[in-house]
């Protein structure tokens, strides 16, 4: 005879909490890099209008570095595949 009892929900891995913190930190870093890039864009516009052409290349390079940092943050650190899904069920 089969029992109709619902199986207790598995306790999620405690490492998940740490992972959330790291993911949150990554998000904050990305936002900060975006803000820096916004400032660089404003500085580029101002330098171009002021005809300070010598400042343009360093500014573009800085923006490029920020973009590389963003790509690194997005692609370098990826959370490993979790054992449990968000609803708590064990992955097959």
């Amino acid at each position: 005879m089969q029992s109709n009892q619902i199986k207790p929900r598995p306790i999620r891995n405690l490492a998940g909490k740490g992972r959330t913190a790291v993911a949150q930190a990554r998000l904050i870093l990305l936002v900060m890099v975006n803000v820096a890039q916004l400032w660089i864009l404003a500085a580029t516009v101002e330098a171009a209008l002021a005809h300070r052409f010598s400042a343009l290349l360093p500014l573009v390079v800085a923006s490029g570095i920020c973009f590389v940092v963003t790509l690194t943050l997005i692609f370098w650190w990826r959370p490993p595949s979790r054992r449990f899904t968000s609803s708590g069920y064990l992955k097959q």
């Binding site: 209008l49 573009v60 943050l73």
Partner: protein
Amino acid sequence: MNSDLNKAIDKVLDHNRSDEGDVRSATAPHQRDFPYDREEEAQVTRREFCNFLGLTSAALFVGSAGFAGKAAFDSSRTPQFPSSKVEGAETLAPGSSLNFHYPSTKDSAILVRTLDGELHAFGQKCTHLSCPVYFERAHQRFECPCHDGAFDAKTGNVLYGPPPRPLDPIRLEVRANGEVWAIGREAGSSEG
């Protein structure tokens, strides 16, 4: 437990509460078999937001590079300026100004006859963020209304405010019958 689930499904399927009534009714059988929370589904995930920030970063980089590239390209060109008559300049009273276009109809410029009778012309774009400057008769200077910048009416030099360099001067020539012609335009430089 089941009554809670039914209530939740009813809430989701309630046409008066949701603006997606048609979708809800169309997917109702599926919703009953596989209920899930639509509100949570609408939330942006962390990964989606990361990707959005990545795209924003790419756009900002392309914007910076494009703007810098265009500015550098424009500065490397040496455009030819045609001579153009400034209509109405002969009758311009001392201490007043006149707007005209030079070198093209897209480039607005401003001509001023100072109180001592000298004529001076400049591009009308403020060198800060390209707002149009106007001649302030009371103080005999050009002022930018956007960020409170001011320029000297004779030299175009910055008097105060955020503009980083003088206005672009336009070379003038007074020909026969007092006709005033614009014959060239330079980039205002803070050096020298």
